[in-house]
């Protein structure tokens, strides 16, 4: 195997190692007990069947679904940094529809709730698509800014139109049983996992076996060449990828409301939309690898909650680990590109 190939294979492990090492050094420097923290991290993520089924896997579901969408968008060259907002758009729609479906059979109500969240995410992401294609506004900026709009919207919803019927707490009424995704008895794991795995398979087939999937990669790799040489409608492909990635983030919000939280409130997402960027990048935008990296970051998220409970280390520290992992992947990528260029030059 070539040197580049070996690096490619080991890169995710190296990046994660760099992230964990940074965490340990930082914690030691901050006066925490790094080994106690690491033990808590492990226990919270993988220490028991309950940790895996009720903490790790439920967190992996939104991360995988959003990560798949971000991977799709990035592949087409659409830098969607707004998954957090699209997630909330989906969560709002799922709650709105869900609370009014108590009389419906579950077999119908749940798909309707999920479809509503999908549509809301699609709609929310259509704004940046329109702004980019019609007005030339960079999707990086527009998707980012819409995150703040979505957060304000949730804040309004849970204190306004969707507030629970007693009007005391800033949250929605709980979803009726009919609108909830079935859970594995005795755990918090819900059917959304099957949705996530199914989508990963579907997107893998789409990316490797269809013409549109090929056009998508061509558009991301070199839009000019794709348009001129390949006859690809790059604007359409770009817009489609961005819109679908929004739809998936919205669906993740719907799954979260229908499968885990059963209600809408302000801090519903602990930053899934941003973590999923790391998930997608570490997976090299590959749908099947996204399952693995989604599980990995879910383990970090689940473990960080335990770390806060047991070692008093603020859970938010996990963002630092994510940032280090993203940057490690970027650095390895650019180093590899340079080497290829250097080899081509000689």
């Amino acid at each position: 195997m070539s040197r580049a190939g070996i690096i490619r294979l080991w890169l995710p492990a190296l990046a994660v190692g760099a992230g964990i090492l940074t965490l340990m050094l930082g914690l030691a420097a901050g006066g925490y007990d790094p080994l106690l923290a690491l033990a808590a991290l492990w226990r919270g993520a993988l220490g028991s069947p309950d940790a895996i089924l009720s903490a790790l896997l439920p967190r992996a579901i939104p991360l995988i679904i959003i990560g798949l969408g971000i991977g799709l968008a990035f592949r087409a060259g659409a830098l969607n940094i707004g998954a957090e907002g699209q997630f909330y758009a989906g969560a709002i729609a799922a709650t709105w529809v869900g609370v009014s479906l108590s009389a419906w059979p579950r077999l119908v109500a749940v798909p309707v709730v999920l479809a509503a969240s999908l549509a809301a995410g699609l709609l929310w992401a259509s704004v940046p698509v329109l702004l980019r294609l019609r007005f030339g506004v960079l999707e990086v900026i527009s998707t980012l800014l819409l995150n703040f709009v979505a957060e304000a919207l949730v804040s309004w919803m849970v204190q306004g139109p969707l507030q629970e019927s007693k009007h005391i707490y800033p949250q929605s009424d709980p979803l009726p049983l009919a609108a909830r995704l079935p859970q594995l008895p005795g755990t918090r794991l819900h059917l959304g996992l099957v949705v996530a795995l199914g989508l990963a398979g579907l997107l893998w087939v789409f990316g490797t076996r269809t013409l549109l999937g090929f056009q998508l990669r061509a558009t991301g790799a070199n839009p000019l060449a794709a348009r001129v040489m390949g006859g690809v409608n790059t604007r359409r492909v770009f817009g489609l990828a961005l819109a679908v990635s929004g739809a998936l983030a919205g669906l993740a919000g719907g799954c979260e409301v229908s499968g885990t939280s059963f209600a809408l409130f302000q801090s519903l997402s602990p930053g899934y939309g941003f973590t999923a960027i790391a998930v997608a990048l570490l997976a090299r935008l590959n749908p099947l690898a996204t399952i693995g990296t989604g599980l990995l970051f879910a383990a970090l998220e689940a473990g960080s909650s335990a770390m806060q409970r047991e070692a008093q280390v603020p859970a938010v520290v996990v963002s630092v680990v994510e940032a280090v992992i993203i940057i490690a992947v970027l650095l390895a990528d650019s180093a590899q590109r340079r080497r290829l260029l250097a080899e081509a030059g000689t």
């Binding site: 930082g26 901050g30 006066g31 830098l79 940094i81 704004v127 702004l131 019609r134 007005f135 030339g136 506004v137 990086v140 900026i141 527009s142 980012l144 800014l145 819409l146 995150n147 703040f148 709009v149 304000a152 919207l153 804040s155 309004w156 204190q159 306004g160 941003f274 960027i277 790391a278 990048l281 008093q312 280390v313 603020p314 938010v316 520290v317 996990v318 963002s319 630092v320 680990v321 994510e322 940032a323 280090v324 993203i326 940057i327 970027l330 650095l331 990528d333 650019s334 180093a335 590109r337 340079r338 260029l341």
Partner: protein, 304 residues
Amino acid sequence: MDLDLLTSFLASAVRVATPLLLAALGETVTERGGVINLGVEGAMLGGALAAALGASGSGLWSGAVAATLAGLVVAAVFAVITVRAGADQIITGTAMTLGVVGLTGTIYRRVYGPEGVGLSLPTFPVQAVPGLSRIPVLGPALFQQSILTYLAYLAVPLVWWLLFRTRWGLQLRAAGESARDSRAAGVNVGRVRTVGVLVGGALAGLAGASLVLAQVGTFAEKMTAGRGFIAIAIVVLGAWNPVRVMGAALFFGAAMALQFLFQSFALGIPYQLFLMLPYLLTLAVLAGAWGRTTAPADLGRSEM
């Protein structure tokens, strides 16, 4: 609307615009060199925490200096990863902001307790400029502000001079238009870009200080709430020109100050709609600015 209300609205608009102006001026310098730094949000947030720590430890000016240094450090890391190693600027900037959110949250809770109690910090006093502050309406709005606002005013001609009247500014702008051509002409592209990023980081850090020490008087996790990203939009709206950037920053300050004004009217409109307003306005303005401004040609392009 009576004049007192108008004056106090304009004064709060200028106060709110100050951190936006500082950060946007810094990002103008960075982007003129062809680098887009989404980590400006993180540099600002890092500056905000450093300002809080510095000011509660040893006075307001220590806070401002610590904030500037914090912004500088965040920008230095960004510069090493993007300018030196050639990694993607957009994703690096996003990751930097993500990392600083985690770091500031952790340090804040470590220093001020796990729940992060409401922190009350000293703030820079309002100092009226003799004479100018007596101009009706505009005088008190523009010239009864804190020293950091006056610093921001001063930074406008300074940045303009730096960009358009110095040799370094010429090299920076050349590097922003075409790294390849500038290198052929003997410009050390890596160095001018790095300095451009550092200037941006220092000003973003100072922007964080002005947010904490001249506007809010406390620190909270994620308190910059996208102001760094708005600053990037302000740079676009201001067409990468310091003077026009100032106009754009004041416009956004007014949009953000609107919520205070409307709250005092008690119109019964949900306050969250006013929270959305600056972001929606940014999008609308960016859409409207299309085709009328030109970005530095090499902006955002990683260089091999």
